[in-house]
Symmetry: C2
Subunit: 369 residues, 2 copies
């Protein structure tokens, strides 16, 4: 028999005008976004945080599971969960977003997990700072990168692999980078990386390796699939591309009023409507949020909540709106301390990464009852 | 201004050959199915149970929330959560499935939440048997139905509504029908109906009204939207149709081996592969499961786990498979004690309800490594 991976695992592609395929739909049914009304919560309730799982959720036994730390280190380490929990711990509130968020709005559409706008969530992660473990192993300070390997195994664009990503050593040594074993005060759920995952505040989700089983300190930049092939900003498939790293600024409104089931168009009635939402960025603090009711023709500043001691998590904003009967298109846009904002339409890239075009919410205001 | 609900909330329709629409995709991104590998667990871990939310998740304050019980009763009741928890309680393990599971495989495709096969989950629900509350209110034993109203509000096919469904009185009086305030030993999550939901073991998910706020005992059959318009088996939009009630038999395999990211095609290698899966039905016990490796040409009996004291939950089945290199299509089909089975292709209905066509999983077995 002539059976090869190539026949079931094809190269990346963009759509050619056909609708969403059954393959994309199967990914959308497995992986899910945050229902936008859950942007109300400072910390996303369990089960509502976005999820993107490349292969399957592995079934790992916490009693036999071990983390190996090796490579350019003084001493290889093999650590069980109980040993990790004896090390110093800290808790960090982190807003995490999928690098492919917004992909399905691009034209042509990169064929992959078809996110619209909802691939985000915020959690309190508790674990051991990675640098404590690197220090315990005696990591070479002259090393280039640290490579993280998960227990999730699959094929992607023809390449069989365990999920692997690297970080430059200086990023790995940041005090808030964690080997997390708790989410919101409970052991990690299977789908969030039980028993251990990497958490890299400020970076898109692909960096936060789940089901972590191996850490290797290396002297040369890592060239594995998820680093050198996937998660690159490129216009053509043969370009080396620019790596996807930190989260670009984005603001999302809780859609006001109530929805139509099928179109998700919102309905409000005349009176004061308190709009609320969340804004975040992994590169610099969000310093300003503006909202528009007319599809971006005019903008007004929203009220941004004071910093709450969680610099890696989203910030709440509000706006008092007094609509009369009519049709509206609501948007919000974040601006950072560095002056970075959000585009009204997204510059295209072939993987559909780092999209932060402004949200657009159709709203009708009916006559008063 | 001439703004009407009709312009944002259109009648039900079937597709005319176009692909999945952005509206359907937005529903798929909000609502999610069980990742099929989670069929491994007897009870679905939090966050992996399927979810179908018609409108938004309401934000309810458990301190001010009340359940009203009225209609054809001796005494109207207004109950808080603490009062409900003082009543007798029981815990029932229930497999719940969305009535629209499988809809997206139909041709033409009913345009709604586009489930493939994954809209299922099993949980342990704890609460007060509904009949205890009906008895406390002195419900008229000659009444026809009980109507349940949730706090979730929206528009559907042009009709503004709170979500409402009814049960015939004799169904409502079944001992295992619960007003549930716990799921898997914890307070209900917001997305599962906090603080209280109805649980009707054996029925499709539309009957299990979430965010319950009102129970009314009525003397005539309820004709609200979700009862008389939606959730009906019909061929044409103007037929009265047959109500959707109990879950038809279905078996699902955990897809074996590992997946390709995009196609979800499975890869195994030669040797023994233990296949496992779950089978359920809301009408009669599942008594037999058969599996096929050749697209349904031949079938072999799986080993069905002994009954485990949870008659409203799925049953596990296993099968030892020894593939050689080649291409396979795996299927499983359940048969109940009443002799009801699963069709190889689904008889079409306009809402895409009660579909239980057999699952089909493409698998390749590579050469040994």
């Amino acid at each position: 028999m002539d059976v090869t991976l190539a026949e079931i695992s094809r190269p990346g592609r963009v759509d050619t005008g056909e609708g969403i395929s059954a393959e994309e739909l199967a990914l959308a049914a497995r992986n899910h976004g945050i229902p936008l009304e859950a942007l109300r919560y400072d910390v996303t309730p369990p089960g509502l945080h976005y999820l993107l799982i490349h292969y399957d959720i592995p079934l790992l036994d916490p009693l036999t599971w071990r983390l190996h730390v090796g490579g350019q280190v003084g001493t290889d380490l093999t650590l069980g969960l109980a040993e990790l929990k004896e090390l110093p711990s800290r808790t960090v509130r982190v807003t995490m977003e999928c690098a492919g968020n917004g992909r399905a709005r691009l034209e042509p559409r990169p064929v992959s997990q078809p996110w619209l706008v909802e691939a985000v969530g915020t959690a309190e992660w508790t674990g051991v700072p990675l640098r404590e473990v690197l220090a315990a192993a005696g990591a070479d300070p002259g090393a280039a990168e640290v490579v993280f390997t998960g227990a999730d195994h699959g094929v992607e664009r023809g390449v069989e692999q365990d999920y692997q990503r690297s970080l430059p050593l200086e990023e790995a040594m940041r005090e808030e980078v964690l080997l997390a074993y708790e989410m919101n005060g409970l052991p990690l759920a299977p789908q969030h990386g039980f028993p251990l995952r990497l958490v890299v505040p400020g970076w898109y989700g692909m960096a936060h390796v789940k089901w972590l089983r191996d850490i290797e300190v290396v002297s040369e930049p890592f060239t594995g699939f998820q680093q050198a092939v996937a998660y690159r900003l490129r216009q053509a498939p043969d370009e080396p591309g620019v790596p996807v790293t930190r989260i670009t600024p984005r603001a999302l409104l809780v859609p006001p009023g109530f929805p139509d089931f099928m179109s998700r168009t919102r309905v409000v009635r005349p009176g004061t409507v308190t709009l609320e939402g969340r804004a975040w960025c992994g590169r610099a603090p969000v310093e300003r949020v503006d909202v528009s009711m007319d599809g971006g023709a005019t903008w007004a500043p929203a009220v941004l909540a004071e910093p709450d001691g969680h610099p890696w998590a989203w910030r709440r904003f509000t706006f008092e709106w007094s609509p009369g009967p009519g049709r509206y298109e609501l948007s919000a846009r974040a601006t950072t301390a560095d002056g970075e904002g959000q585009p009204e339409s997204q510059a295209w890239n072939r993987g559909g990464f780092a999209n932060n075009a402004v949200q657009r919410i159709p709203v009708v205001c009916l006559e008063a009852e």
